[in-house]
């Protein structure tokens, strides 16, 4: 196996190479069940998944073919764990994976995959390649083979409770400052509340207007709600980098905070992977069904619109919606933002492709937190710019702060004349006050 260009890789720790390889493979198959094995056994090497991948589309480099990103793990699976492992091993039909291969593959697994799952929709065999990439990242993390920048924010999240330094104290200070500055009530650490609101690091540190917008909307709807310093950070880099234990730790903070205040609903912020981490993986981490509802912000807004509680001023502009992959394609909340945009009265110009097959922004899956991938990410971002320009819409809107950050970076890099907007903030800016 070889890749066309020289590999860029980082290493954590000083364990021997053989141990790294062993740990990578053990942790790859650690949670392997029937379905993952079925998918590993089904690839026919048709290569069609390449056509769905934005990294391949932008570069036409075959090494970015999604299933190729799993090659060492496919090889190791067949050699060590598959039904014919003994045959493969005895006759050496599949050679042992080497540390050099894993080092080379670090770029393919982290820099050039946003786990957006578009390839999974293309695969004629029905293989969910994206979920297997996440499994492979489990292996890579435990082998100490994660891009440094991603590892650093992940470790910081584990140590401080937030990857971008939004510690409980920082969060408290910011909430108090924002409440004062914007003259908006922001309940913090209420002992009892019907609704627990959570935020993402990016919003807390970079887009504080989203924190304010959340509070404005909750207050506007007259809800019994709170932020809590023991469970506010929805960003989960454990999930993105491949450390299931740290992922669980972050998830349990949110779950325990919601239980502590008796919340009936936990609202997740405008963040894609936070939705996957809690909405779809949270109960499995907790070990039983969650005793509260989990809604993405866009779902909450759509429900409020549909119930007639949330009435909005009309925005007399054309808009286009960028689907955050984890919320829309892989999360199922595809129509919710469109319900809200309709209530805002915008002239919606859908992109092509859109909804479930919309192109990813290129920054998900931890890629935007990994600066060494910037050049590649910018190439990928061109797809997005072209897609949005073709709609002719005035307002690009999304419902994911990570996507928004990627757009802001792309806008600055290319001096693009379009600025991404937050659906949440658009709603907060257009509340009809007399509707209280």
């Amino acid at each position: 196996m070889s890749t066309a260009t020289q590999a860029r890789f980082d290493k954590q720790g000083d364990m021997p190479d053989a141990e790294r390889v062993d740990k990578a493979m053990r942790n790859f198959v650690k949670d392997f069940g029937r379905t993952a094995a079925l998918w590993m056994e089904s690839c026919i090497h048709c290569g069609m998944c390449a056509e769905a991948c934005h990294f391949y589309e932008a570069t036409k480099d075959p090494k970015y073919t999604p299933i190729w990103k799993l090659e060492p793990f496919k090889q190791a699976y067949k050699r060590e764990y598959g039904p014919f492992a003994l045959v493969y091993r005895t006759l050496n039909l599949k050679p042992k994976v080497t540390i050099e291969e894993l080092e080379q593959w670090q770029e393919l697994l982290y820099d050039s995959c946003t786990v957006c799952g578009r390839c999974s929709l293309m695969c004629p065999m029905g293989i969910d390649i994206a979920s297997l990439i996440s499994q492979a990242r489990h292996g890579m993390f435990h082998a100490g083979l994660v891009p440094h920048a991603l590892y650093t924010v992940t470790e910081r999240g584990h140590r401080e409770g937030s990857p971008l330094g939004a510690t409980p104290k920082v969060f408290k200070d910011r909430v108090e400052w924002l409440a004062d500055d914007h003259e908006v009530e922001m309940p913090l650490d209420k002992a009892q509340a019907d609704v627990l609101c959570t935020m993402s690091s990016i919003e807390i540190m970079k887009y504080p207007d989203s924190v304010v917008a959340t509070a404005r909307i909750m207050n506007h709807l007259g809800l019994d709600w709170t932020f809590r310093t023991d469970g506010y950070e929805a960003t989960n880099f454990g999930l993105l980098s491949g450390n299931a234990a740290w992922q669980k730790e972050m998830t349990l903070k949110l779950i325990n905070a919601a239980i502590a205040c008796g919340a009936k609903t936990l609202i997740l912020p405008e963040c894609g992977h936070a939705y996957t981490a809690l909405r779809w993986m949270g109960a499995n981490m907790y070990g039983k069904p969650l005793p509260f509802r989990v809604l993405h912000m866009s779902e909450f807004l759509a429900e409020s619109v549909q119930s007639g509680r949330l009435k909005l001023k009309k925005v007399s502009k054309s808009a286009t919606f960028h689907d955050p992959c984890q919320v829309s394609r892989r999360g199922g909340a595809t129509e919710a933002p469109r319900v809200v945009l309709e209530a805002l009265g915008v002239d919606l110009h859908e992109m092509f492709p859109t909804k479930g097959t919309n192109w990813c922004c290129g920054g998900g899956g931890g890629v935007v937190a990994n600066p060494r991938a910037n050049d590649l990410r910018h190439k990928v971002f061109k797809i997005k710019m072209e897609q949005i320009d073709e709609t002719g819409a005035e307002l690009p809107v999304t419902s994911c702060a990570n996507c928004r950050q990627t757009f802001d970076d792309g806008q600055a890099h290319f001096k693009w004349d379009k600025e991404m907007h937050s659906l949440l903030e658009l709603v907060a800016d257009n509340l009809i006050e007399e509707a209280r």
Partner: protein
């Protein structure tokens, strides 16, 4: 070895071994997958009727329009050789006679007695034409595999060996039908049968197994995604 003894070997012990290895290998590989545990998903489903996701088995038989441009060649050629191969396998008169014999030999019943109709057949010329088209499509996909940068990179021994063993029965079957090269018919027929046996023996070990796993793999993705309301 005379051509007659070669044919007897192909029809006798070789066939027995090939079928045994095929059945045992397929079962071993399937059981090896199915015996793995599966965890219950505890998240609150968006759509509780997850079985509806099984429609992905049908849906994924053709790419969504967004993906069609880059995949149309592979899809068309893939369908062409699969259909040609299957029609030739199932509806050529000598094959049908073989299956009827096998059915009677294994179960002791006459096919038409059990099912109330005789196994349908197609004219040999039509089958020959389809086999030729199928072989041409196989050659096209091989050329594509060798020249397309993506497919060339991701291909391995299994891809080329499985190709060879799939093309061989079509080629040897057509040679036998044409009584090609002046070789004794028994030799041509024995070669054809042996090529099928090679296919059967390799089948459980390589990518040919997708014939058994494809529907389960699609169904699994469909049910998981349906539960979340994710795109299929």
């Amino acid at each position: 070895m005379t051509s007659q003894t070669l044919l007897e070997f192909a029809r006798g012990p070789a066939l027995g071994w090939a079928i045994s290895i095929f059945v045992a290998g397929v079962l071993w590989r399937l059981v090896g997958i199915l015996l793995l545990r599966t965890k219950k998903d505890l998240s609150e489903p968006r759509n509780a009727a997850t079985w509806k996701g099984l429609r992905l088995i049908g849906l994924r038989s053709w790419p969504r329009k967004e993906f069609l441009e880059g995949t149309a060649f592979g899809e068309v050629m893939g369908y062409t050789f699969h259909v040609g191969f299957l029609v030739a396998l199932l509806f050529l008169v000598p094959h049908v006679l073989f299956f009827e014999d096998l059915f009677e030999g294994l179960l002791g019943f006459d096919f038409s007695d059990v099912f109330g109709f005789t196994w349908p057949t197609l004219p040999t010329q039509a089958i020959t034409f389809l086999a030729a088209v199928s072989l041409a499509a196989l050659i096209a996909v091989l050329i594509h595999r060798l020249t397309n940068p993506v497919k060339r990179l991701i291909s391995n021994f299994d891809d080329y060996f499985s190709w060879l063993l799939t093309a061989a029965p079509l080629a040897t079957g057509m040679l036998a039908y044409a009584h090609a090269g002046g070789a004794p018919y028994q030799t041509l027929l024995a070669t054809h049968i042996l090529s099928v046996e090679a296919l059967l023996i390799w089948f459980p070990f390589g990518k040919l197994m997708h014939a058994f796993t494809i529907f389960a793999a699609r169904g699994a993705q469909g049910m998981i995604f349906e539960r979340k309301g994710a795109s299929l």
